[in-house]
Every structure is written in structure tokens, then in C-alpha cells.
Symmetry: C2
Subunit: 146 residues, 2 copies
């Protein structure tokens, strides 16, 4: 089982706002057209990003903008905003407490899996929106240079 596409969608939205916000009014309909999903999906994701303090959305008039500099928005921030704080793995529910393995497996395995969670989050935190913006601009420039 894998994560949903929400991190991917949210990152795409943020890149659009950051890179195209000057030229276009970034409404949910405009963003939905770039991402390729329903505008309601965009509005829901924007709601999560807004609750996390990553974007500001203008009700009524429409449009979204970054709430802080892209250098200070990491993939971990986005990930937590859209996927919540729960760990990556789930432990099974009913290990038998009368078995020497069953009564210890959650404690023993949980420690190792928490380390895996930490490693994943550290790597997510290592990428900022600014880097993704630059990489996108670079690829666009390549496109025209050949």
C-alpha cells in the first residue's frame, strides 16, 4: 500500500502558485487545469495547506498565494499538511500477550519503525520548494536551448 497522490498534487499546486502567480490569477479552476484533477480536489488540498500556514487563499475574490518564502517550505511541511502526522507503518492489532514474542513485538518493532519514519522525514525536510522551483525553471530553459 502506498501513499495517495496528495503530496504530488499539493506540490504541483505550490509550484504553480510560486511560478505562475505573477502572470495568472491562481484560482482553483486554473490550478485544476494544470494538475489535471477536479477543482474541488484543489480546493480541499488548498484548505489543508492553508490550515498548515503554507498558503493564503482569498475567499470571494479568488486566488491563492504562498504564505511564506519558498526557501522556508519543505516537502516535509507539505507532506504533514496533506497526509497528517501518523507514522508510515501500522502494527497489527492483536498480538497474543501470552506469547513471549506477541507481548514484545510492538515495543521491539516499533522502535525500529520509528527510526524509519525519522529517516523518511529527514529526507523530505531536505528539499525545499525553492529547489523544486529552480529545477523546474532549469528544465524549461533547457527546453528552449535544446
Amino acid at each position: 500500500m502506498r501513499y495517495s497522490t496528495r503530496l504530488s498534487v499539493a506540490t504541483h499546486i505550490l509550484l504553480c502558485i510560486a511560478l505562475l502567480g505573477g502572470e495568472h490569477k491562481t484560482t482553483s479552476a486554473f490550478l485544476a487545469g494544470s494538475v489535471g484533477v477536479n477543482p474541488v480536489v484543489v480546493r480541499n488540498v488548498l484548505g489543508q495547506l492553508k490550515a498548515a500556514g503554507i498558503v493564503s487563499v482569498e475567499p470571494g475574490v479568488g486566488g491563492a498565494s504562498l504564505a511564506r518564502e519558498p526557501e522556508r517550505i519543505s516537502l516535509l511541511d507539505v507532506f504533514r499538511a496533506v497526509e497528517g502526522q501518523e507514522g508510515l507503518f501500522r502494527l497489527h492489532d492483536n498480538p497474543n500477550p501470552e506469547c513471549p514474542v506477541g507481548r514484545n513485538v510492538h515495543a521491539v518493532l516499533g522502535k525500529s519503525l520509528a527510526a524509519v519514519d525519522d529517516a523518511m522525514e529527514a529526507q523530505l525536510a531536505a528539499t525545499t520548494l525553492r529547489e523544486l522551483m529552480d529545477a523546474t525553471s532549469e528544465r524549461e530553459a533547457m527546453r528552449y536551448r535544446g
Copy 2:
């Protein structure tokens, strides 16, 4: 969305085989009793572990055993056996190729997410079944020492 409990179940099964295999015949029914799941679930997971070369299962007579030393079985081996090789994250399906963000987002974001996958796998690879066995034994010993 999070992974299923299969890694947790599979690890529990392996610990039972490794630590209790001497005293008990580790049939799917016995293992199911410790893990707290249906015996068919155990047989399915054992089938995946067998396909990955981690355990041997005796058809007919019954019982499973490790196919190699616990020092050489890492959580990454178990993870790949039961969860497959797919990456952790999914990219959204239909970014708009006419948008400068849409036509680059998969390449740009995919690189960062691959690094996250690698970090997760490296941390999973850092824990062996032997370490989990020792930690379990240690906790059991604590139980009686007080």
C-alpha cells in the same frame, strides 16, 4: 494513507519461527495464534516470504523455518517480500503538458521522492532479524528480573 500491517505481521512470524521454532512446530495455526490473525493470512505471508527466499515451508508435514541466518535477514528484505518494490509515493496521473509546471513536475518531484525512498530503505536495511530477536529476549529477561 499508510502501509498495511503486513510488515508487522511478517516480522512477528519470523520472530516466532526464530525464537520458538525449537520448542514448537511452527504451523500456520500456531503462528496465527500468536499474531492474532487468521491462519490463511499467515499462509499467504509465509508464501511471500518463501518466494523471497527468507523461509522454508514444509507442505504436508507442516512447519516453517528460516532459510538463512537471522543476521542476514533485514527488515528491508521482509518489507520488499510483503509490500513489493513500488515506491512509497504516487505521482498524480494527468499533469497538463501545456503548462510549464505540469510538463516538468514528474521529473522534478520524482527525483526528490526517489531520494526519500532510498532513505527509507537504507534505514530498513539497518535492522536485522537478529537484533529484533535479541531485543525480544532482553525484554523477556527483564520481565522476570523485575
